[in-house]
């Protein structure tokens, strides 16, 4: 009975996911597309739960609920304000007659031309069909679970995913941190941050809620980080939670953003990558190899790297949300 119910749950969930994704991509109103995408992230977290991946569900919860939605909504606001500015004209520039069009297009996308329907559909169907066929014919394999299980003793932690992330495949995680940092450098190379034209809601409600939520978020982030050594949790999830808390602060802040001074900010952003690399290089000389640790030192080293990585991920996510170099940082 409960097996059958689980199957029904899966089918309803997947139908919902596909339906939401389809309506999202078919929207002409961008705001509607964004709200549907937020819902998509929620359903996705449920799907990860059903696939026995609570770690991923945790990360999806923090990123889907806290970061992506806010990022998309604020991008829409930026596009709208750019369109308004163009229509009105700026002090150094007369109003742009095409501005009215731009205003229309900033938050609406006209339905796509009929001409592209057949080629796009057939291409997507062929690709999807090939993938489905390949997946159905793929033989069942045990995967790497037994191998990981066998080596858990030397990993220094009790949670297999943390062991894979920070020990067995540490180079993946190291490069991942580097990529996140590079994304931030890319965003910073585009210029200084745009001050959002909108104001936060006046009144005591939002500050009061923040006073409750931000401390709880910090405690939860630290708890998730600590839990990572023996249960679902770890640096990525904790970093995402703390990053979301930072984004909440940025959003609620009137006008001026609470940017950290330049040097500590940069140190914090690079702490994860830097410490990881430093410990990895030390491992090359006195340990088993590059990015490897001696088993008896593994636990403390992993904890140190995780703390630094959490800090860096959280700061980077907030900086990516602000999208732009801190003001007064040029020379």
């Amino acid at each position: 009975m409960s097996n059958l119910l689980l199957v029904i749950f899966d089918l309803v969930l997947l139908a919902g996911l596909l339906g939401v994704a389809w309506r999202c991509l078919a929207s002409t109103d961008l705001f509607r597309a964004v709200v549907l995408f937020i819902t998509f992230g929620l359903l996705l977290a449920l799907a990860w739960v059903r696939l026995e991946a609570p770690d991923i569900a945790l990360a999806e919860a923090a990123i889907g609920a806290g970061i992506t939605g806010a990022l998309l909504l604020v991008t829409l606001e930026r596009l709208r304000s750019i369109a308004v500015e163009r229509r009105r004209g700026r002090p150094d520039q007369p109003p742009d007659p095409a501005g009215a069009d731009a205003l229309l297009h900033a938050l609406h996308d006209p339905p796509p031309p009929r001409r592209t329907f057949v080629p796009a559909l057939s291409f997507a169907l062929v690709v999807g069909g090939l993938m489905v066929t390949a997946l159905w014919h793929q033989p069942d394999a045990v995967g790497l679970e037994p191998v990981v299980d066998e080596h858990m003793g030397v990993s220094g932690v009790d949670h297999p995913i943390t062991a894979v992330l920070l020990n067995f495949r540490a180079y993946d995680t190291f490069l991942e941190l580097a990529i996140v940092l590079i994304a931030l450098l890319g965003a910073w190379s585009l210029g200084r941050y745009d001050r959002l034209p909108a104001r936060p809601a006046p009144g005591p409600i939002l500050p009061g809620t923040l006073r409750l939520l931000v401390p709880v978020a910090i405690v939860t982030g630290v708890y998730i980080l600590w839990a990572g050594s023996h249960a679902p949790g770890g640096a990525f999830q904790a970093g995402a939670i703390l990053g979301a808390a930072g984004i909440l602060l940025v959003l609620a802040r009137p006008r001026d953003l609470p940017m950290a001074p330049s040097t500590p900010l940069r140190l914090g952003l690079t702490a994860g990558v830097g410490l990881f690399l430093a410990i990895g290089i030390v491992g090359l000389f006195i340990g088993p190899g590059l990015l490897g640790y001696p088993p008896e030192w593994a636990y403390p080293l992993i904890i140190v790297i995780e703390i630094a990585a959490t800090l860096s991920i959280a700061l980077t996510l907030v900086a990516l949300f602000i999208a732009g170099r801190p003001a007064g940082d040029d020379h």
């Binding site: 709200v35 945790l58 959002l196 978020a217």
Partner: protein, 106 residues
Amino acid sequence: MITFYLMAALFLLATILLGLIRVLRGPGSGDRMLAAQLFGTTGVTILLLLSMTLETPALVDVALVFALLAVVAAVAFVRQHGLPEPSGTPVHQRKNDQKTESDDDR
């Protein structure tokens, strides 16, 4: 008991899918945002029920994170479009024929 939890979770999933009609129809962005907020709470409840069904206590942490960050999108929503100047009168009290500055913004 487990069957009961599962049925409850399935019911809540169905309410989410029904609520999607409101996101699709709108008509205002406030309606859409409200629906998303309801989905967040329903999702938290589904996670709690699933944590009993699948016997995975970690799912309570996932629910905790969802509950913690449920407000972020709503705060971003208020910033989206922003609020008019403090002197601005509520839309309901404006005259229809009088085009105001913040109407242009839309």
